[in-house]
């Protein structure tokens, strides 16, 4: 008994680490994936808005402002929340330019 007491200690610590790891690792992996997806969507939205802007001869100042803001956020980087904000700005700008194009 006296010789094997460390088995309980090491086993307990390992179980604790395993529990923390099994919670944290998938969570961090999911957060990373979500951030990458959000940035991918944001970049796609900005590109689309840029194409729409170039296709319209008239100027839409509000859309310009929104797209500039979106590009600013994209340039600044950040987490998934920032990416979603940029995507939303770009989407609004895109729909403004499309409305102006008709």
């Amino acid at each position: 008994m006296s010789l094997s007491w460390w088995v309980w200690l090491v086993g307990g610590v390992l179980l604790f680490v395993a529990g923390v790891g099994s919670v944290l690792v998938p969570r961090r992996r999911a957060a990373t994936l979500e951030r990458r997806v959000a940035w991918s969507a944001a970049r796609a939205a900005v590109d689309r808005a840029t194409v729409s802007r170039d296709a319209v001869s008239a100027r839409v100042p509000e859309a310009d402002r929104l797209l500039a803001e979106a590009e600013l956020v994209v340039a600044g980087g950040g987490g998934a929340g920032a990416a979603r904000t940029a995507a939303e700005y770009a989407r609004q700008a895109d729909s403004m330019w499309r409305a102006a194009a008709r």
Binding site: S4, V7, V10, G12, L15, V25, R43, A44, V51, A101
Partner: protein
């Protein structure tokens, strides 16, 4: 299956841990000091050790001792080898011996002690004199003393000590053994068959499972070999503990005699011999004390066999294995936990996304040759979406995201196809035919 195994391992580890913690309430100390014998072997006064014999007054005894060198008071039981004692006395003139009966109370013993004329006092078989008390220290001497009242060895040693000379060399005192005659054995056998084994106090714990046979004989005549009833009875009652009492001496014959008989006799008579020699205990009390000593020795584990009083306890046996069981459970849980965490995308299924991207890209290429000013922006937007989808596939982003990008591209290309003057360039129609 693997997930279940993982959680089963964790549960087993928890159960093992709880069992381990609960088991800690058990005492791990094993003591040999909890023998169930009934404690103090010989108790003063209450054990019937005071006999009916008495002694005269001190003055009368002094007169007797002055008259002759050896005085035997009525009821005296001690005997000795006259020749050897006389040799020990030698030419010392004033060695006078008074022999009193056993079982005297304190006042009577004081009266005997106050006979200053007596150099040596023998009370029962206890030998004292001057500042000394002489006791036997060998098994044969004890047997002689308690079975036949032979105090030769003690007397010679005491007288030599009083005279301040070395005791003369002599063969060890031992009454010796002889086979009992058929006439002696017959009544003993008849009695044993009638009374059966002894079941008095102490017999069960001393000899668990086998009640001993007890033969009680009076003090044997001095100077004759003792009849060894044990050996004779062993042939009639094999594998049975047999106790034969010769006066105050108990001789054991039976199973495991070599293991403990001498040990018990030596420890019992070394500790209690002084009281037994001085008093007149009933034989039943001496037997009881002896059985308790047997129990003590058995309990102490001196026999070559398992302790009779420790019941089998599976927890005590399994406790040392628990830590390793726990360790195995932890390892299984860890191994099964690490694999999915280390390779989360190992089961990435092949999807239709690359094929769909290729078909839409082919459509976009065909459309680009036909578009005009009105549909160019939609085509460009569609191509940017296709580019985004391709990089998403390369970055191994989830299929859902790739499909949403492809949906957006398809919507743009659909807008282009609707604006074209030629049929068959909308994605729905084009993809149905497959990329040409």
């Amino acid at each position: 299956m693997r997930g279940w195994l993982r959680w089963i391992a964790l549960g087993a580890a928890a159960v093992v841990f709880v069992v381990f913690l609960v088991a800690q309430r058990q005492s791990v100390t094993v003591s040999y000091g909890q023998s169930p014998s009934s404690g103090n072997t010989v108790t003063e006064g209450s054990a019937g050790e005071l006999g009916t014999a008495t002694v005269p007054s001190t003055a009368e005894m002094t007169a007797l001792v002055s008259a002759q060198p050896v005085v035997r008071l009525p009821g005296a039981v001690a005997h000795w080898d006259e020749q050897r004692v006389r040799a020990a006395i030698g030419n010392a003139p004033d060695i006078r011996i008074i022999v009193a009966p056993p079982g005297l109370d304190e006042a009577e013993r004081t009266r005997v002690r106050e006979v200053k004329a007596a150099t040596v006092r023998v009370i029962g078989t206890q030998v004292t004199g001057g500042l000394y008390q002489s006791t036997a220290d060998q098994l044969g001497e004890w047997r002689a003393q308690f079975a036949t009242g032979d105090v030769t060895a003690a007397l010679v040693a005491l007288i030599s000590a009083i005279r301040k000379v070395d005791a003369p060399a002599a063969p060890p005192v031992d009454p010796g053994w002889r086979e009992p005659t058929a006439a002696e054995l017959a009544p003993v056998l008849a009695d044993l068959r009638k009374s059966g084994p002894y079941t008095g106090p102490g017999a069960v714990s001393a000899f668990p499972g086998r009640s001993p046979l007890v033969v009680t004989l009076a003090r044997q005549p001095y100077g004759k070999p003792l009849p060894h009833y044990g050996r004779a009875l062993e042939k009639v009652f094999p594998d049975t503990p047999i106790l034969v009492m010769y006066g105050d001496w108990i001789e054991y014959t039976g199973p495991q005699a070599a293991d403990f008989a001498e040990l018990v006799a030596v420890t019992f008579y070394a500790q209690s011999g002084d009281r037994i020699s001085r008093y007149a205990y009933p034989q039943r009390n001496i037997l009881n004390a002896y059985l308790n000593r047997v129990t003590d020795v058995r309990y102490a584990g001196l026999f070559d066999r398992p302790l009779p009083y420790v019941p089998f306890d599976p927890l005590r046996v399994g406790l040392p294995a628990l830590p390793w069981l726990f360790a195995v459970c932890v390892l299984v849980f860890l191994l099964l936990s690490v694999r999915p965490a280390a390779r989360p995308t190992s089961r990435r299924r092949p999807t239709a996304a690359p094929a769909r991207l290729a078909a839409l890209a082919a459509l976009a290429v065909e459309q680009s040759a036909l578009t005009g000013r009105a549909t160019d922006p939609a085509l460009t937007r569609g191509i940017t979406q296709l580019t985004a989808a391709r990089s998403a596939i390369e970055e191994k982003l989830p299929d859902r995201h790739v499909q949403s990008l492809l949906n957006a591209a398809e919507a743009e290309l659909d807008e282009v196809g609707r604006g074209l003057p030629y049929p068959g360039y909308r994605p729905g129609e084009y993809l149905r035919g497959g990329p040409s």
